[in-house]
């Protein structure tokens, strides 16, 4: 089944990605990583959203696969995704997915503080927004929250405190 992002957020992310790519595109070489490089994306997403005692890692919930299903390769987010994955895999002779976890964590920490007008910083921001939206929409991600899986049919009758 084809999945979609909520229209408002999708348009916001498209705009965000576009703002990033327009100034960058002139000085970038063609991306080399194929769009189906799920391993690199999964590894990145698992640094963002790792497994812990309460909830599984992003890859366990197939967030990367869902994201690739949503993002059209020729779109601006698709190009950003491709460029970002290329960048991640270009950091070392080994691909990002095979780097030690501590190294992956350091890379993502650096990306989270990087200039959002450059690819690493923009990739982190845009892909993080996609990822947390997809992840926290899954029932498996909200264990430990004071939430029901769905607001209806039970609602939240009082008392609340």
């Amino acid at each position: 089944m084809k999945r979609y992002l909520a229209p408002d957020r999708r348009s916001a992310l498209l705009g965000f990605a576009a703002a990033s790519l327009l100034p960058m595109s002139a000085r970038l070489v063609e991306a080399q990583t194929p769009m189906d490089d799920v391993a690199t994306l999964d590894a990145f997403l698992d640094v963002l959203l790792p497994a812990d005692a309460m909830s599984p890692a992003a890859s366990t919930l197939n967030i990367g696969a869902e994201m690739l299903e949503i993002i059209v390769p020729d779109s601006l987010p698709g190009k950003l995704l491709s460029l970002g994955l290329t960048w991640l895999d270009s950091l070392d002779a080994r691909r990002f997915a095979t780097l030690p976890e501590e190294t992956q964590f350091k890379v993502v920490t650096w990306m989270s503080q990087a200039d959002v007008n450059e690819i690493p910083g923009r990739f982190y921001q845009v892909i993080r927004l996609f990822a947390v939206e997809l992840y926290y929409a899954r029932p498996g991600a909200i264990t430990g929250f004071p939430l029901q899986v769905t607001p209806q049919p039970q609602g939240y009758p009082p008392p609340w405190t």
Binding site: A6, S11, S112, P146, L147, Y156, P158, W160
Partner: protein, 552 residues
């Protein structure tokens, strides 16, 4: 030409059209409503019982939004940058030199029920002083009627809807109590009211078009907190569950959905003869002795302006030149924070508490018009984990996930809605070169904030921050503002009512000055926006008043 006969044809099935239909059918008139948008079925369209609910806003369907274009929305003066929208995750929004439409822009629903389908459901009467801005403050425009002229109609609407509210709302005197008691306060609102009791600020339970007890064959609200995504329980007082449901029971109301009106046909005398709408089988001309235009403050002037002819070169009902002018948007501000110790703020009813202290036109120093404040966790979408992760809590990794669990339910928000005064630059125009699929020029929204609006926004921001500081907030996590982004859930004024045909479009009952059988029943009638009140109850009260005049 259809052979079916109706006593009245109403264009638009939103707040005003539905109320007019209810009143007319109650007196035995046979009424047709032509609605440009679709039907929505609460059982199947509002999927709040399905995982992934937070990713789904109010559903979009074919024709469920009217296309609009944006023109001049104003420039940003960096001296007012304290009013910028921002959040902890994405930083400041759109730091360009121009004010731009937000993601939702002119937020509305085109469909049977109109924007009441996605409204939160505040049931507000206008402040009595808001009817006389020009007389009292030499600005804006006076209404050609007063609070006392609407009070009985307000009461009728509240009774039909099952409005739940407090015993008293200060200046808004009542001839009878609300039909239902107020809702219990949500955790965030309890904090605000406790602080207000200390500071003397006038917070109280809000009056709401949601049932605090079973009423009129509808169940009580179960506080899922998702009113704006569509109410599957049917306790929210959207007009499909209230006015239209009762009007349909009479057997005298016909509603045709997905039937956009393209032409309103007038004769030599100026009387409206018929309307032409598009059906699945092509154009249909429907004759009518009475036409009521209730398409909202954007589509109503668009239809009037687009129906030009040899005798009416500037459009229908536009002898005054006022059609499309005096557009007033919604002035909004919200400040959000994470309050340590607060739990379960996602539970309860949206907008359940309100502060009317600054609502009168002269209640704020430095700006005319007034504003009001609400507890707004749910309204701004901080009632699910995605809202927190995309806006309030930055970072990644296990620390981020733990913060999400620890802090979810601690969001607290004070939102403000304020008056907008008419201005020459703010109006609805027709696009000179872009048309919809039916050949009608698209409407263009021009809406510029005046210095009065900027001053009022500063007051709203300062007061919202101060209210949160009172309860212990030391760090804000998000602020949203009309200053840099046009977001308008309520729009007003583009076919205003008045006593003088030289400067208004309709008379004090909503009948157009130029066409004896063309009436208007939506927020385009408003000469002034009020001090931030939700307008649906006033639209409905005006529609009942117009219907009673038609029945005379």
């Amino acid at each position: 030409m259809t052979r079916q006969r109706f006593d009245a044809v109403i264009i638009g099935a939103g707040a005003g059209g539905a109320a007019a239909a209810w009143r007319l059918t109650r007196e035995g008139l046979k009424v047709l409503i032509l609605e440009a948008g679709p039907w929505f079925d609460p059982d199947t369209d509002y999927s709040l019982d399905q995982p992934g609910w937070e990713r789904r806003p109010f559903p979009h369907k074919p024709n469920s939004r009217g296309k609009v274009l944006y023109g001049d929305l104003g420039k940003l003066n960096t001296a007012d940058a304290d009013l910028a929208s921002w959040n902890r995750v994405e930083g400041r929004h759109e730091p360009g030199p121009l004010r731009t439409p937000s993601r939702s822009g002119y937020a509305h629903v085109q469909g049977v029920g109109g924007s009441t389908l996605h409204y939160v459901g505040e049931a507000h009467r206008l402040h009595p002083k808001s009817f006389s801005l020009q007389t009292d403050h030499a600005t804006g425009a006076d209404w050609p009627l007063g609070y006392a002229d609407l009070e009985a109609h307000y009461q009728t609407c509240e009774t039909l809807i099952g409005a739940a509210g407090p015993e008293s709302q200060g200046a808004r005197w009542r001839s009878a109590p609300f039909p239902l008691p107020p809702h219990p306060l949500s955790p965030a609102s309890e904090r605000l009211l406790a602080a207000a009791a200390r500071s003397g600020m006038g917070w109280q339970a809000n009056s709401r078009a949601a049932l605090s007890a079973a009423y009129d064959d509808r169940p009580a609200c179960n506080y899922c907190g998702q009113c704006s995504r569509g109410c599957p329980l049917r306790d929210k007082g959207s007009v499909d569950q209230t006015f239209l449901r009762h009007a349909l029971k009479t057997g005298l109301l016909t509603i045709i959905a997905n039937a956009p009106v393209r032409k309103i046909l007038s004769g030599a005398s100026g009387r409206i003869k018929a309307v032409e709408y598009l059906s699945e089988n092509g154009p249909v001309v429907q004759e009518t002795p009475i036409a009521i235009l209730a398409a909202g403050a954007v589509q109503t002037p668009r239809l009037l302006l687009a129906n030009q002819g040899r005798d009416i070169p500037s459009g229908l009902a536009n002898g005054s030149g006022q059609v499309g002018r005096n557009f007033m948007e919604t002035l909004t501000w919200s400040s959000a924070a994470l309050l340590p110790g607060l739990k379960n703020s996602h539970m309860g009813l949206p907008a359940d508490a309100i502060c009317w202290t600054y609502n009168a036109p002269d209640a704020t120093a430095g700006a005319i018009g007034g504003c009001r404040f609400t507890s707004a966790v749910h309204e701004v979408g901080l009632n699910g984990p995605i809202g927190y992760a995309t806006r309030l809590i930055p970072g990644f990794g296990t620390d981020f996930k733990q913060q999400m669990r620890d802090q979810f339910g601690s969001a607290i928000v004070v939102a403000a809605t304020g008056a907008v005064l008419p201005d020459e630059r703010s109006h609805i125009a027709l696009s000179p070169d872009q048309k919809d699929e039916n050949g009608l020029p698209l409407p263009v929204i021009h809406s510029v904030l005046t210095q009065n609006s900027i001053s009022l926004l500063h007051f709203m921001a300062k007061t919202a921050r101060s209210m949160l500081s009172e309860i212990g907030v030391t760090e804000f996590a998000e602020e949203n503002s009309s200053w840099d982004r046009f977001t308008a859930t309520h729009v007003f004024g583009t076919a205003r009512m008045g006593n003088d045909s030289a400067d208004s479009v309709t008379n004090p009952w909503g009948r157009t000055h130029d066409h004896a059988n063309l009436w208007i029943a939506d927020a385009s009638l408003f000469p002034a926006s009020g001090g931030g009140e939700a307008p649906s109850l006033t639209i409905q009260a005006l529609a009942l008043r117009a219907a009673e005049k038609i029945l005379e």
